[in-house]
């Protein structure tokens, strides 16, 4: 199973830059980039903060897919 996300699309729909989203959730810009590229799996706490920041339910922002 692989964790997928639509963070980039949700972020741009909200008009947020990677830097402003990072500031909103208390993460680094590099971490936002890594999550958007699928290179980093965030903790539950960070996933919930991201979902709240882009106003999308967390289960719609992150989901599991068969490899």
């Amino acid at each position: 199973m692989e964790l997928k996300n639509c963070l980039r699309e949700s972020r741009t729909q909200c008009g947020l830059t990677q830097e402003s989203l990072a500031n909103l959730v208390g993460a680094t810009r590099q971490t936002i980039i890594a999550i958007e590229k699928g290179g980093y799996t965030p903790s539950v706490a960070l996933a919930l903060k991201l979902a709240s920041a882009v106003d999308v339910p967390v289960q719609d922002l992150f989901w599991l897919e068969e490899r």
Partner: protein, 132 residues
Amino acid sequence: MKTMPKMTQYYLSRALISAAFGGLFAITGTPWWIAALTGAGVFALFLWAPRSGRYAVSPKRGVTALQRDERTQGITDKAGRNAFVVMAFAIAGLNLYFGSMTLSAVPVRFLSWTLILGVLTYFATDLWLRRT
């Protein structure tokens, strides 16, 4: 740039640290212009750090405005652990070599090399894990 006024404490504290660093070079016999350049270089790194994307910026924290987040803390932990393990194996190897082959104590210059090896391991791990 909107956060600049709130970052004043951070920039002031880093200016002091940079000046102290340059001063340290100056009082240990380094020509004044090299000391000044070193201080300016250190301050340039502090100016770049909030914009580097490597830190979570929280201006309300004042002098500690730059924080690691969960990912960068994990990277730092792994880099430190790798550096420690590499140094431990290097020192163990040196002890075995000099103890069994030459029956002498490990020369100090070899211990300096293990320190350099540890630092290189730390930064190599950090760079590798930060790639996205």
